[in-house]
Symmetry: D2
Subunit: 161 residues, 4 copies
């Protein structure tokens, strides 16, 4: 059996940071999604939920795979140049990034999925920034961040009621 020696949580946080995303950025998206349902909700509580989501193995695998794809596209090392072109231009009918994000959302139930769809349209804070950054390929990252926020929002909804 494979031995994963490196702490996957730490690697995911580092990968996110290296691409310009802090856990606080994600927590702020959660706050935006949930504040109308919870009086006095703080960003610390949201951050706590984000951390719980980040400790799940399937979530970690999606983060590492998706960000590796974005970086491989930037470095022009993917076999299919068509996919590189599609990814680098953020072609609106490319949906593999959302499919991968659902791999996170599905683990947190239907509330996570609807929140993801909403956040994907309104693109709050960090997600808008990632989208507007034309120097980087953030095709997978912006959906991953949206999925992490949606998953954390679903956790919050389920645990607080």
């Amino acid at each position: 059996m494979i031995e994963i020696t490196k702490n996957l949580y730490d690697e995911c946080v580092e990968l996110l940071n290296s691409r310009g995303v802090t856990l606080l950025d994600i927590a702020n998206c959660v706050l935006l999604l949930q504040k109308e349902y919870h009086d006095n909700l703080t960003v610390e509580e949201c951050l706590n939920e984000v951390n719980c989501v980040l400790r799940k193995r399937e979530v970690q695998h999606v983060i590492m795979t998706g960000i590796s794809l974005d970086i491989a596209c930037e470095k022009d090392v993917l076999e299919s140049k068509t996919i590189e072109e599609i990814m680098s231009k953020d072609y609106s009918l490319y949906g593999v990034d959302e499919v991968m994000a659902y791999g996170i959302c599905n683990l947190y139930g239907s509330i996570a999925l609807t929140n993801f769809g909403y956040i994907d349209k309104i693109k709050p804070g960090i997600i808008e920034e990632l989208n507007n950054n034309k120097e980087k390929c953030n095709t997978f990252l912006d959906d991953i961040v949206g999925a992490l926020a949606a998953a954390a929002a679903s956790r919050l909804a389920h645990n607080s009621r």
Copy 2:
């Protein structure tokens, strides 16, 4: 092999109408979702896409099952009184209605899923009306209508580009 004698498309349209939903209502939701991406998009084109979605067998099964559940809840004939209570109060953590709606959206890819999440939050036109109608149990119906609109919007996006 079972012989489905009645035309399922007709039955679905009748069921929707009997619950206060016209195909034009759904087409108007599609128009709202897609008009910013298509100049000169008409409600007739949207209606055409809604009709295509309604001709798919798996879609028809979801419509007939979901509306039957809503009506059974109203009539107080479901075995589990807990589920009737949950459905009639539209309990926010009940997600089986969304799960069933994904049975429609998934057939139309990731664009349908994100559109569903968005429409589920902003509740345009007919969906808001269904939600506000306190005399009926529309727990499954409002999500079905949202899913039909999201699926039609995805068809439009894929076919026009």
Copy 3:
């Protein structure tokens, strides 16, 4: 906010029992799915995982809704007689039962989904019995039992490695 006074776990166990399914039946399916991967796996360990799955709110909602649908079909109280005919003959292209089962599996990741597909084909033990019982409508129940077993198998796989 709605107050769920009755213990939902107890209600689900009672509903399953009333339809001829014990938690031990489900645990035996889990054992079948996982014994080749775990030496000395016992049915008690499998039962423990089934119990964990049954404590999740979204799982409970699917069980209560699905079994209520089966019983409503038997009692001939569903609005759509077409759906009753489809359900009572267990029409092979009807897929709403599987869609609802995915509402359970998705919460436990991709291992749960592949196990569900496998169990749905080989129909071990209790699932074959439910399928062969022509006096009852078990359209939703057999998929729910398969999903519970698949979810518990996924929990076991993730926790033991």
Copy 4:
């Protein structure tokens, strides 16, 4: 709007061939899945369904992305070395490959999903070969082939009844 000049269908067939998979290999998996339900089913009919699946844009995107990931892993050019290790050892709890395969199956409904789960366990013909090939990284490819076969089997089931 991006202009996809190269024919995506052709690129997908070439990519599959370059990794040792012919469309006939996939058609044979379909035949295996469906022959008990259709008397006199031929491999030509199965091949026809596989071709229909391969003409869908979302399917093409998954094929090109997944195979590009496999090749990037072989070439050791992915950013996350942990993911490369996980992929190259085909770690059983890694599920992103299945998540991506569901992006194909979901488009063809619940029959495709259950067939995928089954084929993923029994690993017929080409899928077993891909799994046993230790010189290549086929982590994504084997699930993509299974998903293509499952999707084609679902098309066959829906169209022939």
